[in-house]
């Protein structure tokens, strides 16, 4: 009997470095969408804190750190990234496994803000968008989740099926920035 082999969304596409900026695929572990049930927000937040050591993130914020992160995704959606959700979360939220639904990349380097300014219609400069800030927005024509994870580093998520377009669009922006010298 055969065995199922796992492939990542950016299989064969990354890593990529142009000029000062490097684009690489991230293995963030499990990804679960967590949507609190009516009236259970507080209980959920407490359960999240108790089980995973992270507060339920407020709008436009991510809590935790690499390997154990909760990213705000919308009014009723938080992405738990890293650990599998603890059993105590289930009674308080609708939980949906999204581990395979997203392309997750890290883009970092000195000119990373210039690169993202070519494709993202949100001000991502450090003075405005600090570590732990996150935005649901667009990346050229795609919906995306963008989180600052370091002084010169962002985590970007788009739908799994769009991995090639993500790499294409970012590469183009990286080349444009690098060519300016």
């Amino acid at each position: 009997m055969g065995k199922l082999i796992a492939n990542t969304p950016c299989d064969g596409l990354l890593p990529l470095t142009v000029g000062s900026v490097t684009l690489s695929e991230e293995d963030v572990g499990a990804i679960h969408s967590i949507s609190p049930l009516n009236g259970k927000q507080k209980a959920l937040s407490e359960a999240l804190k108790a089980a995973h050591g992270m507060a339920y993130p407020s709008a436009n914020r991510a809590t935790g750190k690499a390997g154990d992160r909760a990213i705000w995704f919308g009014p009723s959606h938080v992405m738990l990234m890293g650990p599998a959700p603890d059993v105590t979360l289930f009674g308080n939220a609708a939980i949906v496994d999204q581990s395979d639904a997203w392309t997750v990349v890290r883009v970092n380097g000195a000119e990373v803000e210039d690169v993202l300014a070519r494709v993202v219609p949100v001000d991502l400069r450090l003075s405005q968008f600090k570590r732990g800030h996150t935005a649901r927005t667009l990346l050229f024509h795609m919906t995306a989740s963008i989180t600052r994870v370091g002084e010169n580093a962002f985590q970007i998520m788009v739908f799994r099926s769009m991995a090639e377009t993500l790499v294409h669009d970012l590469k183009r922006a990286m080349e444009g920035v690098a060519a300016r010298g």
Binding site: G2, K3, L4, P9, L37, A94, S99, W102, A117, T165
Partner: protein, 977 residues
């Protein structure tokens, strides 16, 4: 003629370039226009309509005459302003709109025919005979019109777009803009300072003003040095703010590489920017206007400000023997600058009777230039004085009719400028663009001191709005000459006096338009084409409307302006559409089986943003039909595998999941048993069908909805609206899981056999009856299994997390082949579903109701749902509606065509006899005939009748029998078997 000791050019760097095949040299810092003038070249272009010989009129982006094509081949750039094009080694520019050469242009004959080509002449002629318009007149007109030419090849250059954000956008880096940026920068504001020029300074580079006792350019460099070290100030030269849009959004274009032949790999030639600014300051300066007099368009006649710019910035005198004419003190400023540079002045003609006199030159007071002569360049002018007319020999005329503040951006949001009598110009109204203030010449203040002062004041106002503290600013000392002007638009007299130089609109044209009752300024513009050339009327609109005002006996204020619209100066389509070339137009979505599909050489088709295989060709198959027939037979006889991951999948959870499904689906879902799947029909609120799909109940409070591939996004929006907008009381949440799961249809009599080979525990009819669903384990991976069918066969859809998709696809393919089956694509899928009468968006195309597709009874009467009430309108259920039927060819012709229309057998195939149309057709290898689905008036009442399919486009007429749309296995035995 190059003038020693003048100019901001680098005389140590000689730069060779080519114009019209002739090699010249200029200096670093030259524009094409300044370098050509330095080389004594005055003739640079031909006008649009009469092909009149033309030289530069201006020294800026508003240039109407000196337009050239830069480069050769695919990347040639038409309509480049020679006044803006910086020279670089190897620059190759050509003149335009002339044949065979600039010097000798055959179309110059148009000028002789000018009496017959006045305003609006073409509306009055070229009407007979009718057919000659497309065949003769129009092609001739088209060839004569136009300026430069596109290469006709794909644009080889790269372009990019970007976003920028700031507290304060300062538009224009002349004295006002520089001071504004300096003050705001010192206050710590996040500032973007843009200027369309290659260097900052504005008119300070073109004049001999001093600031704080220093030459203007020196002062500019000092300010620039201070700004350059501020982290919070970004200076962007060669950047034009082209449009003002809502909520502080601006469009801008940075010309990145036009000044060089360097093309580093991946480098954009232009960058289009959207700048979002909390506040903005417009410091765009002013544009000088020509005076209309007979033959005022000869090469050598230009604005006085341009003459000073060429002299002071580029060290070029546009003539050896210059005359100056106008109605402001700029005449004298020009004269002094020229004299200081050692240029001979032939005459100074000041239309003002009280004009100041000079010891250095004679001033002809109260005089006007009333004509010029010279074949391809100015040779002499005629001056009119009370005493009579004199001819004066001259090779350059500097004219000034006053200045028009650059109010353009303040008009982009429908603001109308107001007429200011004392400066004879339009000035912007405040608040025309929310958050924007104007400063300096663009607000009608023309002295250097006023510009500096207003720059500071504008910055202080913006800083106040931004809650930043303005630093104390010492006001630099500069000239503060009062601006005095006497009205002079056009010098009376015979002959043609040009207003719009490029479009060849003359004073006479405006007067004729008024005579013909084109008295509204918009009518005048549209009738004469005044202001519709590439300069958008920057040089001529105000003068033209003043002449119109005069001709119609109204004031200028009452006459009003035409509307300035974006862009301020033209922007390449490639820049505004950067990134969309080729496949960049829309994201590409690939299923996990994509690589394997491509490896099998399956042609791909687009489904929404996804790519899906059309069919999987095998050796010896030469047509798609052979592959398709094989794949259909394979599914009917053995087993087929098809990637169906592109269908939308929406996870619906919460105590009220059933309730919201009952609300968004026409049929009932709260009663569905856990572990079961049901077909659902979704209506729009107007009662028409929106989408369909199956929804599975995975748990008490957990459903999984599928949508069609194309409608997935719309359905998600619809669900969120139904919840947030209509039923926020329901406790439910939606999560798209389309991408989480790779899902494959396994269809055919051997589908269960195939699956049982892979599943960790085998299934049978009892554990997985038709429409069952639930979790399974496949080769050790947790997945889901649905016993649903779009083929009418015993079939399943198996889903695994997407990371395993490619791997499972390979294994399924291999197993299917081992069982005598294999992969099938969209063509076969289409045949299978047509044989079963299953619908797709070909049928539910937005104009069909549940009643039309034979599903009227699915609209549950036990509950309300979106679309139910409106679906009960009489017009949506009554007789006469075109309803779904099956069609089988029965006559001589056996061909069916989707898109063909249906008529009664004996009827003429004309519109009034139309009975319906075919939506989907296929050749059915199962039934060995073509089959069609279509809509026929009262169709289900006409089973057994004969109708005629007519396809006019492809010349096919086929008689058809009207049948039930379920052609194959109408009892549905196979799906349960």
């Amino acid at each position: 003629m190059r003038v020693d000791g003048k100019g901001l050019i680098d005389r140590t760097r000689s730069i060779p370039f080519v114009f019209d095949g002739v090699s010249y040299n200029g200096y670093a810092g030259d524009t094409l226009a300044s370098a050509l003038l330095a080389n004594g070249v005055r003739l640079m272009g031909r006008s649009f309509k009469y092909h009149r010989p033309r030289g530069v009129l201006t020294a800026g982006s508003e240039e109407p005459n000196a337009l050239v094509t830069v480069g050769m081949g695919a990347g040639q750039e038409p309509n480049v302003r020679a006044t803006m094009q910086e020279i670089y080694p190897g620059l190759d520019a050509r003149s335009q709109n002339r044949w065979p050469s600039l010097n000798f242009d055959v179309m110059g004959i148009n000028d002789l025919a000018a009496p017959f080509l006045g305003a609006g002449f073409y509306y009055k002629t070229f009407m007979w005979p009718k057919s000659f318009w497309e065949k003769l007149y129009e092609p001739v007109i088209r060839r004569a019109a136009g300026l430069g030419a596109l290469s006709g090849e794909d644009n080889p250059d790269k372009y990019e777009s970007a976003y920028a954000f700031c507290d304060l956008l300062v538009i224009g880096a002349g004295p006002a803009g520089l001071m504004a940026a300096l003050v705001a920068g010192r206050a710590g504001a996040d500032v973007i300072l843009v200027d369309e020029n290659s260097r900052v300074g504005g008119r300070l580079l073109a004049e001999t003003y001093e600031i704080d006792g220093k030459p203007g350019p020196v002062w500019v460099d000092e300010v620039l040095a201070e700004l350059a070290v501020m982290d919070n100030v970004r200076i962007m030269t060669r950047t034009t703010v082209a449009g003002a849009y809502d909520q502080g959004t601006f469009a801008a274009l940075e010309r990145v590489l036009h000044h060089t032949d360097r093309r580093p790999n991946g480098a954009p030639i232009e960058t289009y920017l959207r700048i979002v600014a909390k506040r903005s300051i417009l410091a765009a300066g002013a544009l000088e206007r020509p005076i209309a007099f007979r033959d005022n368009d000869r090469p050598g006649i230009m604005t006085a400000g341009a003459v000073r710019a060429y002299l002071n910035r580029w060290g070029v005198s546009p003539g050896n023997n210059v005359t100056i004419f106008g109605n402001t003190d700029d005449i004298h400023r020009t004269a002094r600058d020229l004299l200081d540079a050692g240029v001979h002045i032939a005459a100074v003609i000041d239309s003002r009777h009280d004009a100041p006199l000079s010891d250095d030159y004679e001033v002809l007071r109260g005089a006007q230039v009333c004509g010029s002569s010279g074949r391809k360049g100015l040779e002499s002018i005629t001056v009119r004085r009370p005493s009579g007319e004199d001819r004066i020999h001259t090779d350059c005329l500097a004219m000034t009719g006053g200045w028009n503040p650059s109010v353009h951006l303040t008009c982009h949001m429908n603001g109308r400028p107001v007429w200011k009598r004392d400066i004879e110009a339009f000035v912007p109204i405040s608040g025309a663009v929310p958050g924007m203030v104007t400063a300096g010449a663009c607000s009608g203040s023309f002295s250097t001191a006023a510009c500096l002062r207003q720059g500071v004041e504008a910055a202080e106002a913006a800083l106040g709005d931004l809650s930043l503290k303005a630093p104390k600013t010492a006001m630099p000392q500069a000239e503060d000459t009062p601006y005095e002007i006497s009205q002079l638009w056009a010098v009376p007299g015979k002959g043609r006096a040009w207003l719009d130089f490029q479009n060849d609109v003359t004073v006479k044209d405006i007067k004729q338009a008024a005579t013909e009752n084109f008295r509204s300024v918009e009518h005048m513009k549209r009738y004469t084409t005044q202001g519709m050339a590439t300069d958008q009327g920057k040089n001529s609109n105000v003068t033209a409307l003043a002449i119109l005002a005069d001709a119609t006996g109204r004031g200028i204020s009452e006459t009003g302006t035409t509307t300035f619209r974006p862009p301020y100066s033209p922007i390449a389509i490639a820049a505004l559409g950067a990134g969309a070339e080729g496949k960049g137009f829309k994201p590409q979505r690939f299923a996990t089986s994509h690589k394997a599909t491509v490896a099998r050489q399956a042609p791909l088709i687009e489904a929404g943003l996804w790519y899906r295989p059309s069919y999987f060709p095998e050796k010896a198959e030469t047509t798609w039909r052979q592959s398709c027939d094989r794949e259909v037979n394979m599914v009917r006889q053995a087993v087929g595998v098809c990637d169906v991951s592109t269908l939308g999948k929406i996870d619906i959870q919460g105590p009220d999941a059933g309730a919201i499904l009952d609300f968004v689906y026409a049929n009932m879902f709260s009663t569905l048993k856990v572990g079961r799947t049901r077909y659902g029909l979704m209506l729009r609120e107007d009662g028409f069908v929106m989408d369909d799909g199956t929804t599975a109940r995975l748990g008490e409070t957990h459903y999984l909805m599928t949508t069609t591939t194309a409608a997935a996004g719309d359905v998600m929006k619809h669900l969120e609206f139904a919840h947030q907008g209509l039923r926020p009381d329901l406790d439910v949440s939606f999560t798209s899981v389309t991408e989480q799961w790779a899902q494959f249809a396994v269809a055919g009599p051997k589908s269960r056999e195939l699956l049982n080979d892979l599943l960790d525990s085998a299934i049978d009819d009892e554990s997985w009856p038709f429409m069952a669903c639930g979790p399974i384990s496949v080769l050790g991976v947790q997945g889901r299994l649905f016993r649903i069918s779009f083929s009418g066969e015993h079939a399943y859809e198996i889903a695994v997390p997407a990371r395993y998709g490619a791997s499972l696809f390979d294994i399924l393919t291999e197993r299917a082949q081992a069982l005598g089956g294999g992969l099938y694509g969209m063509e076969a899928l289409n045949v299978l579903r047509i044989e079963k009468g299953f619908i797709t968006h070909s049928e539910i195309h937005g104009r069909t109701t549940a009643y039309d597709i034979g599903m009227g009874r699915m609209v549950s009467q036990k509950k309300d749902c979106i679309g139910k009430t409106m679906s009960e309108r009489p017009g949506l259920e009554g007789s006469g509606r075109e309803r779904l039927v099956g069609l089988k060819p029965i006559g001589e012709s056996r061909e069916l065509l989707a898109g063909a229309h249906l008529y009664n057998e004996e009827a003429e195939p004309v519109r009034i006899n139309d009975q319906g149309y075919l939506t989907s057709v296929c050749y059915s290898p199962t039934l060995e005939t073509m089959l069609g689905l279509g809509f026929l008036a009262d169709g289900p009442d006409r089973y057994g009748a004969i109708v005629k399919m007519v396809d006019h486009l492809r010349g096919v007429t086929t008689l058809c029998e009207v049948v039930n749309p379920v052609f194959f296995d109408p009892e549905g035995g196979r799906v349960r078997g």
